[in-house]
């Protein structure tokens, strides 16, 4: 389908300009996501379009002054085209996803604008019910985090790291909340680590807004297109062979490679800065998985298993 993107843009451009006399060409180009050059070509095209006859008074009339443009005569194109199914779907599904995220303080506004967008979209919004995005919020935690962000205050967290089975207390300066990969995260400057850290909100056991003003360093928006966690240069490459009963591991954890073998087993490779969680996973899976490498990891798993068996022996098992 090679439908041109030009006509939809022009159909929005005419009413847009009509509502904004003296708009700056550079700004309009930016809003429409095109180069100034492209926009000027668009304006030149509008000039020669209009009602049948194309006599004086039939054509779209616009005027340039310095770097601004004013549209005087829209020749009937006074309002934008209604929303297409895809447009309605994109907005409605996103609004619902956020409106249903537990603990999001924008919830009330989201609910109201969702109703308005559905009304305006009409029948085009019907397929939106067939697409759903779920975001796990954190009912208790998210509103407090948002409040800390709005008031610019430091937060005290009690945070649980499952891979290391650690519960730590930290003071953090909040930077932003990320709703990504179906979970809510707080990106913050951790005063303990003296670095930016990402905290999954459903692992925050307790939190408190402190009186201290937050002063996080300016942190640019992350490129989240490849997922939340990027492999680092020092990450260890762990390789596991999974029997069919443990196949879910390949789906659940971000694996660098997944190779299904003819005998029904799966070999996965994944990168991690800290193998503690892989060791715990191996203990949990038992005979359903085999650690293939590196050697240090194989040994670490065995050491844990021996210590665990000894602990049971010691208690007279």
């Amino acid at each position: 389908m090679s439908v041109s993107a030009d006509l939809p843009r022009l159909l929005s451009l005419v009413p847009y300009l009509l509502a904004r006399p003296g708009a700056r060409v550079a700004e309009v180009a930016q809003v429409f996501g095109v180069s100034e050059d492209r926009l000027r070509k668009d304006l030149n095209l509008l000039w020669v379009c209009g009602l049948p006859g194309h006599g004086p008074g039939d054509l779209i009339d616009l005027e340039f002054e310095h770097d601004t443009v004013t549209l005087f005569e829209p020749q009937g194109v006074t309002r934008p085209l209604r929303l297409t199914s895809d447009e309605a779907l994109a907005l409605v599904v996103a609004l619902r996803a956020l409106a249903q995220t537990p603990g999001l303080t924008e919830r009330a506004a989201l609910d109201r604008v969702l109703i308005k967008v559905q009304e305006v979209a009409g029948a085009a919004a019907a397929p939106a019910g067939r697409v759903q995005v779920t975001v796990e919020g954190a009912e208790r935690v998210l509103p407090i985090v948002e409040q800390a962000l709005t008031t610019g205050r430091r937060l005290h967290l009690r945070y649980y790291v499952p891979g290391r089975d650690e519960s730590t207390e930290r003071d953090v300066d909040p930077i932003r909340v990320l709703l990504v990969e179906g979970h809510s995260y707080l990106e913050a400057w951790c005063t303990r680590a003296e670095a930016v850290r990402t905290f999954r909100l459903d692992r925050v056991a307790a939190l408190q807004i402190l009186d201290t003003p937050a002063a996080p360093p300016p942190v640019p928006d992350r490129d989240l297109s490849q997922g939340l966690f990027q492999a680092g240069p020092d990450d260890i490459l762990a390789r596991l062979m999974l029997h069919p009963g443990a196949g879910w591991v390949a789906d659940y954890y971000p694996c660098e490679s997944v190779q299904e073998q003819p005998d029904g087993t799966t070999v996965v490779a994944l990168r991690t800065p800290d193998t503690a969680w892989v060791e715990r996973l191996a203990l949990r899976l038992g005979g359903r998985a085999v650690v293939l490498g590196p050697e240090e990891l194989i040994e670490a798993v065995r050491a844990r298993a021996r210590a665990a068996l000894a602990a049971y022996g010691a208690s007279g098992g």
């Binding site: 996103a94 759903q132 932003r176 989240l224």
Partner: protein, 324 residues
Amino acid sequence: MPEAKTERLLNLVICLLATRRYLSVQQIRAAVPGYVGDGERAGSEEAFRRMFERDKRELRELGVPLETGTDAMAHDDEPGYRIARSDYELPQIALQPDEAAALGLAARLWQSASLAGAAGSALLKLAAAGVDVHSGEGTLTPRVAASEPAFDACLAAVRDGRQVRFGYRTAGRPGVQQRLVQPWGVVSWHGRWYLVGHDEARAAERVFRLSRFSGQVRLEGEPGSVSPPENLDLRAVLARAPAEAATSTARVRVRRETCWALRAEASSITADGEADLLEIGFADPERLADRIAGFGADAVVLAPEPARQAVLRRWRAVLPEKPE
């Protein structure tokens, strides 16, 4: 030339919006510049018809509502065309500042090119209607990735109500199996996309992970030939975990300052010398062992015996057969 076509299409839309009566094909040809031969082959009736058919198709694909019909007085054999303003125009909408901010937030959600583009053009239409929505970055960054190649095809299938045929790699089974499915919806769950639908061959509801799709996804059947069941809760389908009501209680001794996740699940915690004693409900000793074995020496199952043995079995399996 692409600009010549854009010009012609814009003139066509303006013309059809302006008329109250249906315009015949010949009237359109005379009224809209670009159809009458400009030295091109468009001079012939054949060429004009083909051009006009393509133009109609393109307008329909863009969502421009072309109305066909005949007026009482018309003598034409063929129907005429017009665009009813009430079908064309975006209805009036006014947003409070917090509503505009909320909409801007939602529009930032999509990372997939097709949906991000659709959200963007939707906001442009609103801007053209005088409603400014700022979608600059704030302190809340929502993102949904849709990078699987199968995503666009599955989205189109559920939007249009058509069947999908695809290759699928089932977890734990080698090779690729062909599936024919009536798609009911697509769901993003914990950051992964799933297709929910009726598997024709198995005659049952199934959930498919889009990342396990293999090869091209083909859409089949007429638009609207698939309709999901009434009151289908897509989220509930994915959240469906076998209900495990606890039928027994295990006693587990855990070291101080460890096993936090287990403590959260325990029905009671009591101090026991240097350690803590947890009581944890369970139904199946194997599932309990899955929850406990990862804690290694930090969590010792005292009772019941089947649960204890299940944990020990897992650890023995990771050790080499011959003692070193």
